[in-house]
Symmetry: D2
Amino acid sequence: MSGNSIGVLFRVTTWGESHGKALGVVVDGCPPNIDLTEADIQGDLQRRRPGQLSSTSPRQEEDLVEILSGTFEGRTTGTPISLIIRNKDPDSTAYEELRDIFRPGHGDFTYARKYGIRDHRGGGRASGRETVARVAAGAIAKKVIARQGIEVIAYTQELGGVAAQELSLAEIAKNALFCPDSKAAPHMEERLEEARSQGDSLGGIVTILVRGCPPGLGEPVFDKIDADLAKALMSIGTVKGVEIGVGFQAASMTGIECNDPITPEGFATNHAGGINAGITNGDEIVIRAACKPISSIEKAQETVDINGKPTSVSIHGRHDVSVIPRIIPVCEAMVGICLADHLLRQQALGPTGGT
Amino acid sequence: MSGNSIGVLFRVTTWGESHGKALGVVVDGCPPNIDLTEADIQGDLQRRRPGQLSSTSPRQEEDLVEILSGTFEGRTTGTPISLIIRNKDPDSTAYEELRDIFRPGHGDFTYARKYGIRDHRGGGRASGRETVARVAAGAIAKKVIARQGIEVIAYTQELGGVAAQELSLAEIAKNALFCPDSKAAPHMEERLEEARSQGDSLGGIVTILVRGCPPGLGEPVFDKIDADLAKALMSIGTVKGVEIGVGFQAASMTGIECNDPITPEGFATNHAGGINAGITNGDEIVIRAACKPISSIEKAQETVDINGKPTSVSIHGRHDVSVIPRIIPVCEAMVGICLADHLLRQQALGPTGGT
Amino acid sequence: MSGNSIGVLFRVTTWGESHGKALGVVVDGCPPNIDLTEADIQGDLQRRRPGQLSSTSPRQEEDLVEILSGTFEGRTTGTPISLIIRNKDPDSTAYEELRDIFRPGHGDFTYARKYGIRDHRGGGRASGRETVARVAAGAIAKKVIARQGIEVIAYTQELGGVAAQELSLAEIAKNALFCPDSKAAPHMEERLEEARSQGDSLGGIVTILVRGCPPGLGEPVFDKIDADLAKALMSIGTVKGVEIGVGFQAASMTGIECNDPITPEGFATNHAGGINAGITNGDEIVIRAACKPISSIEKAQETVDINGKPTSVSIHGRHDVSVIPRIIPVCEAMVGICLADHLLRQQALGPTGGT
Amino acid sequence: MSGNSIGVLFRVTTWGESHGKALGVVVDGCPPNIDLTEADIQGDLQRRRPGQLSSTSPRQEEDLVEILSGTFEGRTTGTPISLIIRNKDPDSTAYEELRDIFRPGHGDFTYARKYGIRDHRGGGRASGRETVARVAAGAIAKKVIARQGIEVIAYTQELGGVAAQELSLAEIAKNALFCPDSKAAPHMEERLEEARSQGDSLGGIVTILVRGCPPGLGEPVFDKIDADLAKALMSIGTVKGVEIGVGFQAASMTGIECNDPITPEGFATNHAGGINAGITNGDEIVIRAACKPISSIEKAQETVDINGKPTSVSIHGRHDVSVIPRIIPVCEAMVGICLADHLLRQQALGPTGGT
């Protein structure tokens, strides 16, 4: 309950700092008898890795995951799965000059105020590097839900103001930006290069789809599945907004426009994003998450030091221009974790006779 | 953990159905020695009541709250506070014809699929009426945080496509729509009348501000305060999107535009909405929640019955044209509950020496 | 998490004080489609009622339960079940003279120190009366587990030093002491009369059996089912010790004596009390709970008032001589609640292929 | 909530199997600014190590702990503390012959039935080796409570039927059995030797004292501190009974004998074991835990294999004759963890004005 765990039955606890010895995660509640080796997890970690795009961080994180517990002869046993990713390249000297300075947009100031102590190296616990543990746990979650035919797909909806106009899922894996629009992708890359050259950074929007989800997942009234999805995504440091289905657009629709007519073949439209009254309706779940620009930029910024004295900061060194595309597998992971948890919670009810 | 509770230390559990005997809430974890009588709660229930606007439901809910436990001689004792609101006017006959029909946009279909049984009367547990218990609990939460000088204010940002252009907090209490723009309010009312006459409904956007919040609230990494706020608001049935600070707008900003410079006097801007890395920074918290149009409309809608047979439904009877303005105190309540919880969680750390 | 709830998936939250308006409980997580009316609950409340034995409290508690939510047309719906028992006879005047005095053995002193305020009337929240809500919730729990053939039976093992020598389950319902030994029961009653006449009180031991429990319930490593049972029983104010199977006797046994040999027909003995490594093994679960004597006695006791001034207290009025037999249904309830919770938790795993 | 975590605010999650790569623990919720290095933890691990007594397991576990996260420059930061203890000597070949056999007294049968799969090597997750992680977490917990002057001391009360008659705390550290009676200790060792020579094992009783605990810790009504202590101790695989204060003896006392008179100087006696109504009263907390004999014995035992076929098993190899004395630091750890959690929970209330 101290903030570093999520999920009730599929319970994920992450630990580790950006420049500490390692990062890791304990997954408690994973059902037994699921095939699981490091290879099942490594793939998603690769997708999250930097250095695949000229605009992403050149930091050479190998991010090799090791399973320390919870499997036996290649299968899960129902006991907690402990995963560790050693930090191979934690050069902290570049951060020494930031030891006493609060970087705008980061958690430097708030961690100092909350705890009276902080690991300033690379943002410590507040670093985006923490998400490596989420992705590892998400890979397991996705295996759990895949047994029920549930699949999570995330892609770049918008980057630096350039929106994907077409949605071709086959396209996603074909470009480094996980963009479903082959024409928009190059424009996005241009925006990234432009921002990089200006020492600035960019935000974007990620869309996450869930396919094959059965009706019935989600617990009224507070643990609605959209509520838990919103929390799961908003818990990613970069996310400043979450919407389900038509989302904010719903605010300017009328009831007859917004409601999804029901037919014997299913819902005629999917404005609800696959969720009614907090419970999945069997249709595709559609979520969008808005990501702010990376806070670390070379452009000089006004700030104060830990004594409140005004100063200026220009952040050099290794950092991405945008959390996109590396945030894509993180979003998938969080949605997967949320769904795995709700799947187990629904199973707990036993057969309900739902028609 | 079964979905009807929220909060770790300030723990709120609601119960009750739209047309059951009563609705209520148990608030566990409220600190002792706080003055509390029914009058402290009744005010917020009045603000949530229908019938104050021509476009809101004429249902005569008296919504009188009774404190059943947890206080002694007018003060809280630290033991659970049980509140009950009896249903005075639960005429269910109008719903009899809907017993076997799934209303589009409602939880009828999903509850049936999840549980294999549902109380069809007025939406049962999925009814917006459930929020009366949230508002009651929220009134207590707001007393808890008020002791630390924290105040929650919600208002109508947009209704039926009409946006408030000016923000005058003094204006909010002066109109039935809780709109901070005296010029926009009449236009919003016109839109409501228009939609009512068409048998249709409207959505809108609520803004919630938190003032006087100290830095340090929020628990990394999953229980970030923005993550918990997003969950708290998204758990309201009508909400389809939540954003913090600049929210979705952040997606098209650059780093230098989005980061809030820090000065000895505080943050120069507040694009972050008062939260960095999931922890409050002492600035005003700014949240927006997108509400979909009311699902119950008179206009005929295509749907199916419980046997999957196609049919048409036109919903008459008592229902609002928009959740706005009645959702305003509900949003305040959820934000208040979330903050009370995080306030206690921060207190648990003891003095931290935060500078 | 604030102490007034127990269970993860079958979640029970009680509220109410001895002399408040009412006591009650919210049961969240009860599976849908279980027949449930007040009559299903009232029976256990009757068994807990005072006044059936000359030595029990003459207080006329009617203890009529009302179901306020969570059922529809006589069946559970999966939504929270709210139960209320109004206090019909809360005459508090007798407690006025105790307002400023700490009664030995009670929670008067500790509540005052913890909260800085306390409802002194009848012990407030710390009163044994709180268990009425547990019994009500337990009645529902027992219905949940009965669907899987699990039954909970509690009886008086020992009272005032008189032990039941024979174990005839058929005998339990035949005497007011729920004693399985028809010869011991009258001796126990004599001890009660003797203690009453001396203005003193008695302790005892309760045995709780669980029959028909399938193997596999219990979650390693902290939520072992014996750990959760111990907590559930020790949370009853009067219980000072809990043991499973041979319990404390195990301390002086050797391995060959204590281990239960396994045969194709099952375990040859049941020293383990039906639990191995925290998981049920399919054998009968055997638990014993030691109850201290009632703290309220007429005999004069040395104590202090709230100002620390020494004084003497002699407690008159309505109180039992022993928590036995009224604690019997409370023990059953707590064990039932614990089992219902673990049953749902095991169901959450889905089919495990356990051989 | 999946069983491998304990505590609400001071939250301990253990992972690892007896013959896996490593065991470990994540401690979430530890307050910041506490000095912490491996040396603070290693001491307790040494006390738990085997090989210090001729009767304990000769297995050479080095049990070196490594702090992977949560500290910065030797102090805790408020972020999760991840500890790992690598398994240096996990020779599993001796267990190969037990792969298909259910050892009596162990979790072999129940794990197989619960999960349909089990790591048979050394008991897998059900091994006593799991407690190494508890001891590591307990060392941190004890530092947290030591800041408030709270100290936990455990000792051997009884072993193989030989009881300590005298209680000299100074004696505890002087003998390998942690026995407070210098005359009883040699008799206990004799019993151990005797049992070893017979291929049998012994049980015992551990007493745990808590000194310096302030009044007010414990949360009514389910999270009473004695309820949580009982759970914490009963979650140790070997423990079959727990009692507080006079414990089972209370059952045969009368009220006037059992109640602790209150004087201006404090409680005249301590039959309650420092806890009234589930809340600490400032007196010494006294707990006893009954431990069963080690289940692994050389003496031949009747059992079945995984196909239900009868067979006989005689367990050779590395195992202790009794969990005493190695369980002593484990008991201390569990009590320390429980108290640290309740200390933070009480702090969450803020100043209560308790008199």
